[in-house]
Symmetry: C2
């Protein structure tokens, strides 16, 4: 196990009707003028925004609002939010939505007290100060409600970049599984794949002797594997939704990744797919991850055997462990198909002839690599795309 | 799953040589005059206290010190610590040791800014303000390094009581597994049982649909079951020590207990054993827990079957699940024996003729019960003690 630090100071409020406590927690954390930040109209139409406003009114908290966050949130709206917060003397940002909304809120929060261009943070500048951020989560997927990171896309050149630091972790996050019950099956499944991918990027590691985090990774994967088919079958299943929602937080606040080298190549390879075809991140990951596994499993057969046996319940083939490793990847792919996810270019709507462009856009050139489990060069990435055809 | 809140704001610093960062973190959290609080002389003799002092000197932090914390920490030393802190204008307490030292430090920290008797907190008064507490952990067991609770024994009447609240969670905790390598096998095993017991008190629940926390409980139990025999065999095994040390934190910061009813009867039943015979808490738990399981398994055979199959790898007896449930308890007991723990009164040095006294001291009377998985009356507790003979 490697040396590490771990810090997750977010106050989590979980369960039915908890969105009505938003005002209480904003007051507790010293917010007096709030920006309510959200995406499309569904949170307005469902009455969620009204319930939240009522909870703020009850505490005498003033607010303004800014909707319109898109999936893959854009810098344009972040600039607009920063300007609005300054003009209205906002001191607290409440994100109501999924990962895109929360990431946009984090970026605005970091930008308001900063004299320069907030994009500096996405080019490596350290965030020293931010407004406080709280969240009311509506989708189990990105884990931004508990994470120290954010991803914003700059319109100029469609540059998708990440930034972070413990300082941008939300001060509180409200997770009410009821709010996810209206999500269509496809979006639910995309979220589930995102959650699984956050775990798998940590699970496939070269760090030895990490039984505690191995077992915890497996625990959360097993939960997803049990619960997701239940909500695909019955979207109103509160209990299954609840297990998935908490799993999404645990998968990405880094509790599962402490003390181990992490990979993150598949996320990079997928980003080019969702950028080019505007497909959901989770759907892209469902296509890329099995292909990545097929390409790299030989690097550490034992680890893939562990994945197959412990996560997928495969019978160990003692005479030929490689067969067991391959069986685990096959079962993973079957699971993805069973929850309605694409598992190849064709199902995703991606084109073989775009592969050179996808590889080029990753920008690894001749000397750079991506990933740490296996360090991938451009030629490796190309082979992985081809395995996903 | 039940509604819940979860808050674990402690900054964890984990790994080799990390005790040398104590000064850095105290400065970061605003400490300028520190009480270094510890137990016996071993942390002095080993040079640990000197290394910590050097790290404080390096940051220009002043300190005073107070050793002498006993297992089952006493109120007398807490009063002494409060007085010393006030006299020396201490603003930060650094606990160097295991759960007893950390609990004593938490009690001093709560007592210093309080006008009344600190014991009020152990009689239900809410803690409104405390000095900040940091820890350098030397034993994997109690989980106090990440928990919101403390247990202190008042000499008058030997009254052992708990108190807590999120406010007393340490601001930082330094966990260096190297510091646990000198622990004798018996103490290591006692610590491991304490860790397992913290999980089992949460695992046996009447709350349905808690797959995520069920799986995480099982993950940490499986880690202990793998790693503890390795350190009993080879006390210098850093990697196994590291996995156990982090497991001890995870087991008791309540991540594994969110959204579920918890039991805690076995802890209560054990407390009377350690109070009467001055035996280690972990050793007492090794005697009580299998007896409690044997007494209550009929209440929910399925849950005990799950424990047997998932944690102990028992083959499911589909024709007779009760046999599988019993097999799980048997394996647990065999494991405890294998790591050198007592599993009955005789091995612990407890006496059958004291059972009426033990039951009486629990003070349940005629109308009170303990536990929530099964609500135990005095007559049930007596039967559990008899099952442990």
């Amino acid at each position: 196990m490697k040396n590490f630090t771990f810090y997750s100071p977010t106050f989590f409020v979980f369960g039915k009707k908890t969105e009505n406590e938003a005002g209480h927690y904003i007051k507790k954390y010293g917010g007096s003028k709030v920006l309510i930040h959200y995406g499309g109209g569904s949170v307005v139409r469902s009455g969620l925004i009204d319930r939240i406003k009522a909870s703020l009114d009850k505490e005498g908290i003033k607010y303004t609002e800014l909707g319109g966050v898109q999936p893959n949130p854009r810098s344009g709206l972040v600039y607009k939010g920063i300007e609005l917060c300054r003009k209205e003397n906002v001191d607290f940002i409440l994100a109501v939505g999924g990962g895109s909304v929360i990431d946009s809120a984090k970026a605005i929060a970091a930008g308001v007290p900063y004299d320069g261009d907030f994009w500096d943070f996405f080019e490596g500048k350290r965030i020293e100060k931010t407004l406080k951020v709280g969240t009311v989560l509506t989708i189990a997927a990105a884990g931004s409600e508990g994470s120290d990171s954010m991803v914003i896309t700059r319109e100029e050149g469609m540059l998708k970049r990440g930034a972070g630091g413990d300082i941008i972790r939300p001060v509180f996050s409200i997770l009410n599984p009821e709010l996810t019950q209206t999500l269509p099956a496809y979006q639910t499944a995309c979220g589930a794949v995102d959650i699984m991918a956050h775990i798998l990027e940590r699970y496939f590691t070269n760090t030895r002797e990490v039984e505690i985090t191995d077992r915890m990774c497996e625990a959360v994967l097993l939960t997803i594997i049990k619960e997701v088919p239940r909500v695909i079958e019955d979207p109103d299943n509160y209990e299954a939704r609840a297990n998935i929602m908490w799993a999404g937080m645990v998968a990405h606040n880094n509790l599962l990744g402490v003390g181990r080298e992490q990979d993150w190549a598949s996320h990079g390879i997928e980003h080019e797919l969702s950028a080019l075809y505007d497909v959901a991140h989770g759907a892209g990951l469902a296509v890329i991850f099995p292909a990545w596994m097929t390409y790299v499993y030989n690097h550490d057969i034992n680890r893939f055997v562990q994945f197959a046996v412990r996560v997928w319940g495969c019978q160990m083939n003692f005479a030929n462990p490689e067969e067991t490793a391959k069986e685990g990847i096959k079962r993973f792919k079957q699971f993805l198909t069973s929850i309605g996810m694409p598992v190849n270019f064709k199902e995703l709507g991606a084109r073989e002839e775009d592969i050179p462009l996808l590889v080029e856009k990753m920008g690894l050139g001749e000397n750079y690599t991506r990933g740490s489990f296996v360090r991938l060069k451009s030629s490796d990435v190309e082979k992985i795309y081809r395995l996903a055809l």
